[in-house]
Symmetry: C2
Subunit: 301 residues, 2 copies
């Protein structure tokens, strides 16, 4: 197989970093960027890059990286899968919704010979792989995934979507044992009611199970930092031996990591997986890497 041709669908935070990650990948080339409209916004960054409003205008696309909002994924992904184009998304709602997306894309992929990698980010995503591995290493015990302090892109998008909110930044603050406080900073429309915005945010299922505080600020731009962190801990039992302890932590630029993971998953989708849909724990880590497998096994294992 030659160079993989990748389309980046959506040119927000993730999409811009996805373009960089595709260009940095030794085995990929950027087929183009798909946007809702060919506005002149970001024209300088996009100089020399094919920008279209419909992926069918792009030549031979192997994989579409779906960088639009999470809630657009169930509608967007099938459009590509039906044309035999593999998809990678970073759908970020855990549990039932994730399972429903995986099930529906699995059916579409199997019918059309295409692969969907679902929820390819860091949580869900690489964290899910580590959580799964830790359970295989110490089957009984407790895992805590502590996020932050850092900006949650998914939560910020949801907060921004509420009436009266011009822009928003949702910070995730770890309070230990997998519990979090959400500090939501909002820039309001002139005359908008903070209490109404706060209620709308707190009632959304993204926020409803966490302690959430909504604070009005004059400018989101002035406080935005997309760094994030995770501290995952597990203490458990291997066989009958207790007190096995594990920690996984990271401190990262959030959109850069998310888009890099999507790019790595595009490789598995195009080269290694059978038609259908997969979450990251269903993918062998080695399938995410470029290069000769013999060399990788000799140097990594």
């Amino acid at each position: 197989m030659g160079t993989l041709r990748i389309a980046v669908v959506g040119y927000g935070n993730i999409g811009r970093h996805a373009v960089e990650a595709v260009q940095a990948a030794p085995d990929m080339e950027l087929a183009g960027v798909v946007r809702r409209s060919t506005t002149s916004e970001h024209a300088e960054e996009l100089a020399g890059i094919e920008v279209v409003t419909d992926a069918s205008a792009l030549d031979k696309v192997d994989v579409a990286l779906l960088c639009g909002p999470t809630r657009s994924i169930p509608q967007t992904a099938p459009q590509y899968l039906r044309r035999g184009i593999h998809t990678v998304d970073s759908f970020d709602i855990h549990g039932e919704e994730l399972w429903r997306l995986r099930s529906s894309l699995d059916a579409v992929g199997r019918e059309h010979g295409s692969v969907a990698v679902v929820s390819a980010g860091w949580d869900p995503g690489s964290d899910s792989m580590v959580r799964t591995l830790l359970l295989a290493m110490a089957p009984r015990g407790l895992t805590y995934t502590n996020f932050g302090p850092g900006m949650s892109m998914g939560h910020s998008v949801v907060a921004k979507s509420k009436p009266g909110v011009v822009d928003a930044l949702s910070m995730t603050i770890p309070v230990g044992t997998g519990l979090h406080r959400r500090m939501v900073y909002v820039e309001l429309e002139p005359g908008a009611d903070l209490a109404a915005a706060a209620t709308a945010i707190k009632e959304d299922e993204y926020f409803s199970s966490d302690e959430t505080h909504v604070v009005a600020v004059p400018s989101i731009d002035a406080i935005k930092d997309v760094g994030h962190g995770v501290l995952m801990t597990r203490k458990g039992v291997s066989g009958t031996t207790h007190n096995q302890t594990f920690e996984f932590s990271m401190s990262i630029d959030n959109p850069a990591l998310t888009s890099q993971i999507m790019v790595s998953c595009a490789r598995a989708a195009a080269l290694r997986l059978s038609p259908g849909a997969y979450t990251m724990p269903e993918i062998a880590p080695l399938d995410l890497l470029p290069g000769d497998r013999e060399t990788l096994i000799k140097t990594l294992v």
Copy 2:
């Protein structure tokens, strides 16, 4: 598929813990233990367990966990694979030797419809999965795997095998940036020469590339503790974004973790993998777990 029937081959440090881990697994039963001879050693622990000198005496074995010394694996594994019994070993030499073992068992497995999971421990093994994942998350950068302080079972067995050495304990001491000191404690035969033993140990390829000190002690039993640790760090680049930092650490009972990982890999071998040989980064983490996949995906991803 019903309950998996597992044979434990070898009843040393790993074998004893493997028996416990098989008995603790909800989807497995112990077919029996294979030993070189049916000595009465450990008779109490083995009460109620079938002990044989040849696995062919055991009823319907799905997977053989090969718990003998690393250097016995290339000879032992094919004997099982040829009879259609899957194998899991924790072969602990990285690089060329590991690749050669994987290649030879791959051929045998494909010919006989059986699966070999090679080097299923924590390093090589679960650490290899994490190293691979980190490379997919930040493709450029440096990973350091720092071991210890803790007893290396593989190095201890090699040290014990040298002339004049009755028993040995090799401690791995991290000195940072993936470098280690090896403190090898030896209990000598009466009249044996420490200098000769030290030379034999230092010249072995297990020790030759590390700073190694050999110290005589009156009793290995008095100092033995099978706890171990790892601190793996990576600092690297996602896309074009630098300074992404990751850490994975653990503090564990070494044989308990190794045998638990072997047991988890037995599941992938029996239920998920096509005939051939696999190292752990070639296995999807979810394939290591028992239970309903839909439930696992809803709760872990």
